[in-house]
Amino acid sequence: MHDFSVNKRLWDQTDELGLANRRRLEEARIYCINVMSAPGAGKTTLLERTLERIAPGPRFGVIEGDIQGRADADRLERFGIPVRQINTNGACHLDPRQVAAALDTMDLGSIDLLVIENVGNLVCPAEFDLGEADRVMLLSVTEGHDKPAKYPLMFRTADVLILNKIDLLPHTDFDLAEASRVARVLREGIEILEVSCRTGEGLDGWIAWLEHRLAHAKEHWDGMPHDHAPGQSHNHDHGPDHSHGPSHRHDPGPSHDASPGRAPNHRPTGGPASGA
C-alpha cells in the first residue's frame, strides 16, 4: 500500500473552461448574460418580451439549456435569431464545456448579445461559471419571499435580480421589501427590478439595464473611459477558491486560440425587434 499526494483543486478544471469561454466571447465582442431561476419563474417569457421590445440594434443569440426537449428553443427561434439547444439529459445545470461546444456551432461574428438560459434550478447553476459577463436571476413572486434566504448561493452571485409576476402580488403573501432586503444582504448593491412579463410593467427598466450593460461592455472593449453603475462591482463575491470574473476583469493569462469560428452565414433573418 502506498499513499500518493494529489493536492488537486477540483474546481480548477471547470473554472478554466469558464474563463476560456469568457475570453473567447470578449474577443468576439459578445456581451453574454447567464439567466438563472427556478423552473417556471419566467426566463423564456422574459426573453420573448425583451426581443419584442428592445430597440433594433443588438444582434441576439441564444443558448437554451433544458434537461430535455426543445420547447423553449422553438419559442425563441420565431424571432429569427440563432438558437442552440443544449439538452443536459438529466443534469440540473449547464457547464462551461457544453457552452463551449455550443459556441463552436455558432457564427460568433453575427452576435452582439448572447443569452444563455440555464436549466431551471435554484441551486446548482450558480456553481458553474459559463463565461458570462453578468448573471441575471429571476424570482417570481409565486415562489415566496423566503427563497433568497433559503437558496443563498444563487443570489450571492447574481448581478441583477428580477422579481417577476408582480401582477400576481395581490394574490400572494410575497413580501417585496423582505425579499429585497435579504437579496441585498447576500449581494451588496445588487440591482433589483420589479417586473411583470404578463402586463409589461417594469420591462422598460429591465431593457434599459440590459442596454446599459451592453453599452458598458462595448466601451470596455473600445478602451474608453467609463463609469460603473452602482452595484456593478468588478469582483464577484465567490470566495477565494472559486472566483468568476465579470467581463471587465481581464485575466492576463496565456494567449489562446479563440478564433470566432466564422461559419457560413446564418445571420438572423429578422431583426430582434421583429416579434409580435
Binding site: H2, D3, V6, K8, R9, A149, P152, P240
Partner: protein, 114 residues
C-alpha cells in the same frame, strides 16, 4: 444533483494519479470539502462509487474532511466559522443572515493505492 459531475471530475483525478504512479487499485481517496461549497457529501460519495465501478478505483473508500466556512454578519460585523451553513443567524445581533465569505474548497489530498 451536480455532485455527479463533481464526482466524475474527482474520479478522473484519482485515476490519473493512480495511472501515473503505476497503481492497479485505489483503496482510499482523501478529499476536503468546504462548508460553503454547497456539495452534499453523501451524494458525492454515492456518485463516486457508482462511477468508479469497473475502474481501478472500484470499491475505493472516500474519506471526507469537512472544512468550516468563514462567515460574517453584515449588520454587526461579527465574524466566525460555520460547519453547517444551513443555520445562519448571527449569534451576536440575530439581525441578519450571516454572509458566507469562503469555504468553497474542494480538494483531493492523497490517495492510497495497492
Amino acid at each position: 444533483m451536480h455532485e455527479l459531475a463533481v464526482a466524475a471530475n474527482l474520479l478522473d483525478v484519482v485515476l490519473k494519479t493512480a495511472r501515473e504512479n503505476g497503481a492497479t487499485t485505489v483503496v482510499t481517496a482523501r478529499i476536503r470539502i468546504g462548508a460553503g461549497s454547497c456539495l452534499n457529501p453523501d451524494s458525492l460519495a454515492f456518485g463516486f462509487e457508482a462511477l468508479a465501478a469497473g475502474t481501478p478505483a472500484s470499491g475505493c473508500r472516500l474519506e471526507i474532511e469537512h472544512l468550516p466556512a468563514p462567515v460574517t454578519c453584515p449588520a454587526c460585523g461579527w465574524e466566525g466559522e460555520r460547519l453547517d451553513v444551513a443555520e445562519l443567524v448571527c449569534p451576536q445581533c440575530e439581525g441578519h443572515p450571516l454572509r458566507i465569505t469562503g469555504g468553497r474548497e474542494l480538494t483531493v489530498d492523497t490517495i492510497t493505492v495497492e
